[in-house]
């Protein structure tokens, strides 16, 4: 295609927004800050839409810049943006949902002192996220990958005055570093194997060698998987995501639910040609996904902080996407990524609206009965809850079933994965309806229910906790508008159907093979999933609506497992004891005392000592006494003179004088 789609504008507009609001934001009037902040993602979204309309069948569209980035011997890396079906879908989600969340933020953060700073970070995030999505080679993707990590760090620690927020930001950054390390090693292996990092070139090279499987490709795929588990909060690197809820709620919605955390899934889909060649790596991906899905879902059962429930739910849903990728149904994984972006953003924004309306309260046990006070939030949240639970004809029903169906067709291990996914669907339905009942139905329990040994995460999310007796109110329309739009998308987002979606994505994400299945099998599995969702709803209804005293009795009778879940399997404590403490101890004893104090300190002390000693000796010549200088000068001149005399042999000198005397 000759015409340019101006892909470079997509990341550049948010970057311009970042620069304007980041540098001038404090001095500009608030309305101007809002305008700039909202126009940037809107412009990007417009460019993406334009590209979507214009490109038609001409994908992939590659835009490479004239100047290459790195030229070193045989290594050539350029700035190239690739627009194919995969990145187009992802871009629509990122800029579209991103724009909605920008609007929401304008209402949610209206009273915050750091208004301009917040929007500059948010725009910065969009810049890096679009770079990540558009990148045509692994290194450029890595730039975006690290950049969204940076933006995530800045926004988690947005209220840096709170130590817990600052620590959560650092935790996210450090845990992500571990994953990034895997990504880097994977890139080095790619460079060593293919001599290039360009996705297209690698895919083309693999295409002409169909017999090449396993071995090195498995190693590369597993390294990339480590990177993906870090960014997408999968086992064993998921621990940062629940803590990331310290950030403002719109940030949790945009970065830690809808877009950034799905970057790992996107990366696997983008490099699917590598994973396709390694059945072992795919099995690991599917296992990680399935185990994470059920693991996080069980933790979500007992959490009492509304945002933490949603955070574990996100981890669990990301597990589904990994499961989808792991059974080579990449388009199903991306399909779920898309619907998840809609309903999880909606859930978070709805939760933000609840928190906003309650003046900063996040504890589920202190909510209840909010449906009368916040009708629009209630109805949109209801849509989201029914969607995530998997009821037809809502979006997640289609995407989740596509993954489970694809898993079921993958032999024995696939049947196990399918079963785990089905149980997870039951658990998901249960904890989401639990949240729904506790928040919106029943009677208001503000300050009610006493603490039964649970850690209370009653942090103030916004700066709105000025008066604790804040009257419950519905949120402004800048917040409700995005909720309504996302609710519509959550309802209809799945109607395109997995077949059409998969055939659209097939050129860039590989075909979805369902030859082994049949329509009747698909319907049976879908029916089972709906039964699981209904069962979860039924249990939640029994426990939290019909007989509200059941949960406490149950917690008391199964205190062991209840505590295990409440403390999140003590994973944080385990990591603390097994990894953090030894590293700290090593740093203190080996690095601080031996390396720093003994070796480096000793070397510095030795050098300083030599200099001091030299100075002590040499300073004797610098007495300041003019006559001693003169004496040295004379002595030196005498030495030079004697040397000259000796060098020009005494005979010639005496001959000269004799000659002179002879006159």
């Amino acid at each position: 295609m000759n015409e340019s789609l101006h892909l470079w504008l997509i990341p550049l507009l948010p970057f311009a927004g970042f620069l304007i609001n980041g540098i001038l934001g404090r001095r500009l009037p608030k309305s101007l800050v809002t305008t700039v902040a909202l126009l940037a993602p809107l412009g990007s979204f417009g460019v993406v839409l334009n590209a979507a309309m214009a490109s038609g069948a001409a994908l992939p569209h590659i835009e490479a810049f004239r100047h290459s980035w790195i030229n070193a011997g045989a290594l050539h890396i350029d700035y190239s943006f690739v627009l194919d079906q995969l990145s187009l879908v992802m871009l629509l989600v990122v800029t579209g949902v991103g724009f909605l969340i920008h609007i929401y933020s304008a209402g949610y953060m209206a009273h915050d002192e750091g208004y301009a700073r917040y929007f500059s970070y948010l725009n910065l995030f969009l810049f890096f996220m679009t770079v990540l999505v558009l990148a045509g080679n692994a290194l450029l993707m890595f730039v975006g990958w690290e950049g969204v990590g940076l933006a995530s760090y800045l926004l988690i620690g947005f209220w840096f005055q709170k130590p817990s927020a600052a620590n959560a930001g650092m935790k996210a950054f450090v845990v992500n570093r571990i994953g990034d390390f895997g990504f880097l090693i994977g890139m080095f292996l790619l460079l060593g194997t293919f001599g290039t990092l360009s996705f297209n070139v690698i895919a083309a090279e693999l295409a002409v060698k169909p017999a090449w499987t396993g071995g090195l490709l498995t190693a590369i795929a597993l390294c990339l998987l480590i990177g993906a588990t870090g960014k997408s909060a999968q086992l064993p690197l998921y621990v940062w995501l629940p803590d990331a809820m310290e950030g403002p709620t719109p940030v949790s919605a945009l970065i830690h639910a809808a877009t950034m955390v799905t970057a790992g899934v996107y990366m696997i889909a983008r490099t699917h040609f590598l994973f396709d060649r390694s059945p072992f790596a795919l099995l690991i991906v599917a296992t990680v996904g399935a185990v994470t899905a059920i693991f996080a879902a069980t933790i979500a059962l007992v959490q009492t902080d509304i945002k933490r429930v949603l955070a574990y739910s996100t981890v669990s849903q990301l597990g589904y996407m990994f499961l989808g990728c792991g059974v080579a149904a990449y388009s199903a994984g991306i399909f779920h990524l898309m619907t998840h972006a809609f309903f999880k953003a909606l859930l978070f924004l709805g939760a933000g609206s609840v928190i906003h309306g309650l003046g900063g309260e996040q504890d589920l046990r202190k909510m209840g009965g909010l449906r009368h006070h916040m009708p629009i939030t209630f109805w949109t949240m209801t849509v989201a809850v029914f969607t995530i639970a998997g009821f037809p004809p809502l979006a997640a029903f289609f995407s989740k079933d596509a993954i489970l169906y694809a898993a079921f067709l993958q032999g024995t291990s696939g049947k196990i994965f399918w079963f785990i996914g089905l149980v997870t669907a039951l658990l998901t339905s249960f904890y989401m309806f639990r949240l729904w009942y506790l928040t919106f139905l029943g009677e208001r329990r503000a300050g009610g229910l006493e603490d039964h040994g649970a850690p209370v995460h009653a942090r103030s999310d916004t700066k709105l906790v000025l008066e604790s007796e804040h009257p419950v109110h519905e949120s402004p329309w800048s917040m409700l508008g995005p909720l309504v739009i996302l609710a519509v998308l959550s309802i209809g987002g799945g109607w395109i159907g997995i077949e059409r979606f998969a055939s659209y994505l097939a050129p860039s994400a590989g075909p979805l093979s369902v030859e082994a299945g049949s329509a009747s099998l698909e319907w049976t599995l879908a029916g089972l999933a709906v039964v699981a969702a209904l069962l979860g709803w039924f249990i939640a209804h029994r426990m939290y609506s019909a007989r509200p005293e059941t949960p406490e009795r149950l917690a008391a009778s199964m205190s062991g497992s209840y505590k295990l879940l409440l403390h999140k399997y003590w994973i944080d404590e385990l990591y603390g004891a097994v990894i953090v403490k030894p590293i700290l101890a090593t740093s203190r004893f080996v690095l601080e005392w031996i390396v720093d104090v003994a070796i480096l300190g000793g070397a510095a002390w030795l050098l300083g000592g030599i200099a001091t000693l030299g100075g002590a000796i040499l300073q004797r010549w610098q007495s300041g006494n003019l006559r001693s200088y003169a004496a040295w000068l004379t002595a030196g001149a005498a030495v030079v003179l004697l040397y000259v005399l000796w060098a020009y042999s005494p005979a010639s000198l005496s001959a000269f004088f004799n000659h002179g005397a002879g006159h």
Partner: protein, 100 residues
Amino acid sequence: MIPISWYLLLSAALFCLGVVGFLIKRNLITVFMSIELMLNGVNLSFVAFAHEWHLVKGQIFVFFVMVVAAAEAAVGLAIIIAVFRARSTLAVDRIDLMKL
């Protein structure tokens, strides 16, 4: 015709007198005069050689030395006055700090 070695011996004697005076005298003005003595000892050997070999270069060099010596005398005497005003002494072994 006086042989050149006589001029040179006189030049060396003047130079050595200057060196000795430079080394042993305490008064800054005397030290300064010793420097002039050394310069003129050298000048003498320049003109002696110039005369011996009928070359004008040596004579020209002497003019340069005299110009430099004059400039040096002007600057040096000004410094000596400044030092005396600050310290009330011109004994070189008591002027041993570069700050006031």
